[in-house]
């Protein structure tokens, strides 16, 4: 099992965004999280990444018990949130190479990731602040691809991408899966998402059900 949650509760202030979520994810799956706005999808992804304290229940991700130590799991996951996690004052190339230096990726990896996400030479020398919304999302995805994580956690990864970018992303996620990674992503574009996913989970009111 890559991730197994049992009755997990995650609380913001006093609001239980996850109210007893239980599910399991096996290696090599591409799992879609669907559900209405405010259901708890983002919370679930961030909890998987070890970013949120588990108030109750047990959560084990990649062999790390999040109730005991949330930090161990972080080195092994890649997370793309609603925000892009970029530095607007740096260029695209500077942003990607910053993250790649932190994890020791090669220049070749960076080159490949930028090509996959269609970041041309002109764009890579542009400051992120001067990009269009979709170009920014592409840049964020490129930093994630460089990371080659074991578990990919993606929050509405298709948002803002044009149709070519969506296809490219789907291809990348599939090939990451083929190379042994596991993918969990949230999405509201059900058709495309169900096409990509091997399994889908529904989150409603902080509870997860199999679809």
């Amino acid at each position: 099992m890559i991730a197994s949650f049992s009755n997990v509760v995650v609380v913001y202030d006093n609001f239980p965004a996850l109210a007893g979520a239980s599910f399991e994810i096996a290696s090599g799956e591409i799992v879609l999280l669907q559900g209405p706005n405010g259901a708890g999808k983002t919370t679930l992804l961030r909890a998987c990444a070890g970013l949120l304290p588990i108030a109750r229940g047990s959560a084990i991700v990649l062999g790390c018990d999040l109730g005991v130590d949330r930090r161990a799991v972080r080195a092994k996951v890649g997370l793309l949130g609603h925000a892009n996690g970029l530095f607007p004052d740096l260029t695209v190339a500077e942003n990607i190479s910053f993250w790649s230096r932190l994890i020791g990726a090669s220049a070749q990896d960076v080159e490949t990731a930028m090509q996959i996400m269609g970041l041309s030479d002109r764009l890579s020398a542009t400051r992120v602040a001067n990009l269009s919304a979709g170009q920014r999302r592409r840049c964020a995805l490129a930093t994630l691809i460089v990371r080659r994580a074991q578990l990919w956690l993606l929050d509405e990864p298709h948002a803002g991408l044009d149709s070519q970018g969506r296809d490219e992303l789907d291809k990348t996620l599939r090939s990451a899966r083929d190379a042994g990674a596991t993918v969990v992503f949230a999405s509201h574009e059900i058709d495309r998402a169900q096409n990509l996913a091997t399994r889908s989970l529904t989150v409603v009111g902080g509870v997860v059900t199999e679809t």
């Binding site: 609380v11 609001f15 109210a19 209405p36 304290p53 009111g205 902080g206």
Partner: protein
């Protein structure tokens, strides 16, 4: 995980009752002796009687902050991360802040009598004020949102750093030339220049304030436990409400 027991008995026990009674008795003696029995000071006259409150409260505040630091270290080091340590640290800091406030208030009253001013920009006074503010900050950090573990970890770090300010306050009279009284009692040479009864009353004050401190901390950390229990029960209700948003819609 917080070790929250579901019991909701009163915060007092036989032991705390005993401590409370003892504290009252000692404090009664300090008041009697401080106000009636001890002599006037040659220089300071009647105003010297403030000392029996001022000095012990300062020392007990130090003691409280040291306890906070020790409990915080205990939380960080212990494998189980027992929340008892954290509650103890918090309770001790709160009581310490109260004693520090007493020091500041009695000090300024005393200052008005001896220097003619409530406040002087003197190193001891200034550093004491900074120490006070530091622990206000500590209490503010405890109130930040987040889980109990987050609260414990953050505040433990702050507590361990804040306690380092105590030597600064204590030695400020040496570091900077100061208007404030130098180390009269706790001086390095060990020779105390003070009337025997005055000294005894002062130490009774220290003992009495220590008992009050222990009594307060024990109760406070019990109420903190009860607050955590109540929060936990509130969470149960919130979870039910949240789950109700579910498949129904």
């Amino acid at each position: 995980m917080s070790q929250v027991s579901q019991e909701t008995s009163p915060t007092g026990t036989r032991a705390t009752q005993a401590i409370g009674v003892l504290a009252l008795a000692v404090m009664a003696w300090v008041v009697a002796s401080g106000l009636l029995l001890t002599p006037q000071d040659v220089v300071q006259g009647e105003s010297v009687r403030i000392m029996y409150v001022h000095v012990p409260s300062a020392w007990i505040a130090y003691l409280a902050f040291v306890f906070t630091a020790v409990a915080s270290a205990g939380w960080l080091i212990s494998k189980k991360h027992s929340m008892g340590f954290d509650r103890f640290a918090g309770a001790s800091a709160e009581v310490g802040v109260m004693f520090m406030a007493i020091t500041l208030i009695t000090g300024s009253l005393w200052g008005r009598l001896t220097w003619g001013e409530f406040w002087q920009w003197d190193p001891r006074l200034t550093t004491t004020a900074f120490l006070f503010v530091t622990y206000i900050g500590y209490l503010a950090v405890r109130r930040l949102e987040g889980s109990v573990e987050q609260r414990a970890r953050r505040s433990a770090v702050v507590a361990l750093l804040a306690v380092l300010e105590i030597p600064l306050v204590h030695f400020s009279v040496v570091l900077w030339r100061s208007l404030h009284q130098g180390a009269t009692v706790l001086n390095p040479n060990g020779d105390v220049k003070m009337d025997d009864l005055m000294l005894f009353t002062l130490f009774s004050g220290v003992v009495g304030f220590t008992l009050v401190f222990i009594w307060l901390v024990l109760h406070r950390q019990r109420t903190m436990l009860l607050v955590d229990v109540a929060d936990n029960q509130g969470l149960d209700l919130a979870i039910v409400a949240r789950r109700a948003e579910g498949p129904a819609n």
